[in-house]
């Protein structure tokens, strides 16, 4: 069904970005403008986009057909016809709903967080652009448009991570994110091209591809599925392309929240779900995705247990949760994976915003062992943070429990006991490290009595809304076993997810097991950290605290070798061979020119002679050719 509204979901945040950018240029060039102006533009535009999405959501809910909007023909060459067209099916609207909603809350939060920053206007311009890019990605009707958004979020993450660009570390982190993502993007492009040719050039929109998937050969499907997943690895920070995510913490906290909750990292999951027809038809690649997800989940969780930077712990926990989502979508349980994306958006945004509130209150202190000595009087942040920690640990009835448990049950049902076991172990670790964070920051004794009057409403208001979401979002997909309607599963029925069908006894047993490991994790964390003497921080030695030396290995393997190669090209190939050849030619021309210059001797008689000789030669030529005929 055609609708004129889809484009406005994208255009309004984009308009916000343009307005903010324009006003910001005016602000720095001519006259100072109040922060309020930027804040209003920055926060109202995502909200309008959210209202548009909500409207479409209700229409879809009333049984309307999938929305689409044809804008213009972009390319039409041979069989390749790329239309600028937006698609608002249930999956896209589902994603767009929480992207705009959580995004909007993060925008509000950013108003309080960025207060007094020189680049306030610029920040909101980037922020709105980020949201607009993500919405292009979500509402795309074909992979090429999806790729525009895909690159857009890449650029915006780069701009935002290195937002305080005067600090060299931030710039390095931005570069790292951009370059690692480039590796993934190459995979994505190659994947789309492979798929297009594998389908015999029958069409590039998602609908056409889905309709023709049967004509492609299995090998090519595996190849294109793998290449597309390489793109997802980069964007969604999975092993081995995850290294940018922890470093991305260099940016201001609202950016971390936006990247981790609403945009960017969820793009990979969304893309896999978009290509569900491809991944459903080749099981090998789905299993591969699930294993990569499991490895990432446990790997990140292990690293997170020994990190000391509050934001890095959260970053690794995001990577770990993304691993869960990939287990879900890899095994064909698309709706479960996306449901985890959905609940995760709430509690992870809340955790980041809470962490940001603490960091701001403690004058940009990020080490959890140093925080403890200063925390007091952060009641709202403390309470919401606790809700987030419980939600992510998987304690019912908080939202994280339902979504995570569905994925673990899925792995168990498919007979992937290894993945299930890894998932259970990760659930234990998750509960452990999240409560370690909570206990050390908010519970452990030895806090100074220094007070902080921190009552900025823009910081606490989004936190409270998200807390409600983190508690109750799980009920949106209340499993049938408890008499729920499993709304998300029904809503995303067109993805043809694999269904859970196991006896109630098994289901209860699995739930009990996952609650048990979570409680065990909390207990271990309580024993160790509830009364932790924060004046003696943990050592930063050891394999885990050093993140398994992956950065160092990558540095040696890729960065240094590429540097050596470039140096070779610079010093040997360029200077000696290329410059040498060119200089040889140059010197030849110069000496030839000098010889030629002798005839320009300013002697008018010689010039007359040259003219005569030239005219004679031309005449002779004409004469000969005329005679020749």
């Amino acid at each position: 069904m055609h609708t004129p509204y889809l484009i406005w979901i994208i255009l309004i945040p984009l308009l916000g970005a343009l307005l903010n950018a324009g006003f910001y240029i005016y602000h720095i060039k001519f006259k100072k403008l109040p922060e309020k102006l930027f804040a209003i533009i920055g926060t109202v535009t995502p909200f309008i986009a959210f209202l548009f999405t909500l409207n479409l959501f209700f229409k879809l809910n009333d049984g309307s057909e999938n929305f689409e909007q044809f804008l213009f023909q972009w390319l039409d060459v041979d069989n390749l016809s790329i239309e600028m067209k937006l698609l608002g099916d249930k999956l896209a609207i589902f994603m767009a709903m929480f992207v705009t909603f959580v995004g909007w809350l993060i925008h509000i939060y950013a108003v309080g967080y960025m207060k007094g920053d020189d680049g306030f206007g610029k920040f909101f311009a980037y922020f709105n652009l980020f949201l607009a890019s993500m919405l292009i990605l979500v509402l795309a009707d074909n992979p090429v448009i999806l790729f525009i958004g895909w690159e857009g979020v890449g650029v915006c993450s780069y701009l935002l991570i290195s937002f305080h660009y005067t600090d060299g570390d931030n710039v390095m982190a931005g570069n790292k994110a951009f370059i690692v993502n480039r590796v993934g993007d190459l995979g994505f492009i190659l994947g789309v091209i492979t798929l297009f040719f594998a389908l015999d050039k029958t069409g590039i929109s998602f609908g056409d591809m889905q309709a023709n998937i049967s004509i492609a050969s299995n090998d090519l499907l595996i190849l294109s599925g793998f290449l597309l997943f390489v793109g997802a690895m980069g964007k969604s920070a999975q092993v081995p392309l995850y290294v940018w995510l922890p470093d991305a913490m260099a940016g201001p906290t609202p950016i971390s929240a936006l990247i981790h909750a609403a945009t960017m990292v969820t793009a990979g999951i969304y893309m896999v779900a978009r290509f569900h027809f491809l991944y459903s038809s080749v099981e090998e690649i789905g299993l591969f995705i699930a294993y990569i997800g499991a490895i990432s989940a446990v790997f990140a969780a292990i690293i997170a247990t020994r990190q000391q930077d509050i934001k890095k712990i959260l970053a690794y926990s995001t990577m770990s949760q993304l691993g869960y989502m990939f287990i879900g979508v890899g095994l064909g349980f698309y709706s479960s994976g996306l449901f985890h994306v959905f609940t995760h958006a709430f509690f992870k945004a809340m955790l980041f915003m809470g962490a940001g509130g603490v960091i701001l209150a403690l004058h940009h202190e990020q080490n959890i062992f140093k925080m403890a000595q200063h925390r007091k009087r952060l009641p709202i942040i403390s309470a919401t943070f606790l809700i987030g920690v419980i939600a992510i640990s998987g304690i019912p009835p908080f939202s994280g429990f339902f979504s995570k448990d569905a994925i673990l049950a899925a792995a168990f049902q498919q007979g992937e006991y290894l993945i299930w076991g890894v998932g259970m172990f990760t659930a234990f670790l998750t509960a452990f490290y999240m409560f370690r964070l909570y206990f050390v920051v908010f519970v452990a004794p030895n806090g100074h009595e220094k007070e902080y009057s921190y009552t900025d409403k823009t910081i606490t208001f989004p936190l409270m809304i998200l807390a409600v979401g983190a508690i109750f979002a799980g009920f949106l997909n209340f499993p049938a076993i408890f008499g729920g309607s499993a709304f998300v599963d029904t809503w995303l029925a067109e993805l043809n997810s694999v269904k859970l069908h196991m006896s109630h006894a098994t289901e209860y047993a699995l739930m009990f097991a996952s609650i048990a490991v979570a409680v065990a994790g909390i207990y271990v964390a309580y024993k160790k950290y509830a009364n932790y003497d924060v004046y003696k921080p943990e050592s930063e030695e050891g394999l885990i605290a050093n993140k398994f030396y992956v950065d160092e290995v990558y540095d040696k393997l890729f960065v240094q070798s590429i540097k050596r190669l470039s140096r070779y090209f610079d010093e040997t190939v360029d200077t000696k061979y290329i410059d040498g050849t060119l200089m040889l030619a140059c010197k030849g021309f110069i000496s030839f020119g000098k010889k030629l210059a002798i005839i320009q001797n300013a002697n008018v008689r010689y010039y007359a002679f040259y003219m005569l000789a030239g005219i004679s030669a031309t005449s002779m030529y004409i004469y000969i050719t005329l005679i020749g005929q």
């Binding site: 210059a597 320009q600 005569l612």
Partner: protein
């Protein structure tokens, strides 16, 4: 036909003498005279063929050439005077300001 060949030969000799004069002589006056010689060689050609074809176009053109040569004479002589004023010489080898300097 012999008469035509004769006229043509004379005009060619005149033109060639003028051309050789322009190339080989160094005195500006002589060069000027040589140029006039070339023009007259061409004039003779034009008149000859005009007569041969009974067509007056060539004669008109030759009158034009003579008129322009007269105008040119006025300019050329004044240029020669200016040249002489600057260098006190009429030798063309002296006027080499536009030479490409080679190391």
């Amino acid at each position: 036909m012999t008469s035509l060949t004769g006229y043509a030969a004379v005009s060619m000799i005149l033109f060639s003498l003028g051309a050789i004069g322009v190339v080989s002589r160094r005195n500006v006056f002589i060069i000027y005279m040589s140029i006039e010689l070339m023009l007259n060689g061409i004039n003779l050609f034009l008149v000859t063929f005009a007569r041969y074809h009974f067509n007056m176009d060539g004669q008109i053109l030759s009158i034009m050439v003579i008129a322009i040569a007269a105008a040119e004479a006025a300019i050329f002589l004044s240029v020669i005077i200016l040249l002489f004023k600057t260098k006190k010489s009429l030798d063309t080898n002296v006027f080499t300001e536009l030479k490409q300097e080679t190391e």
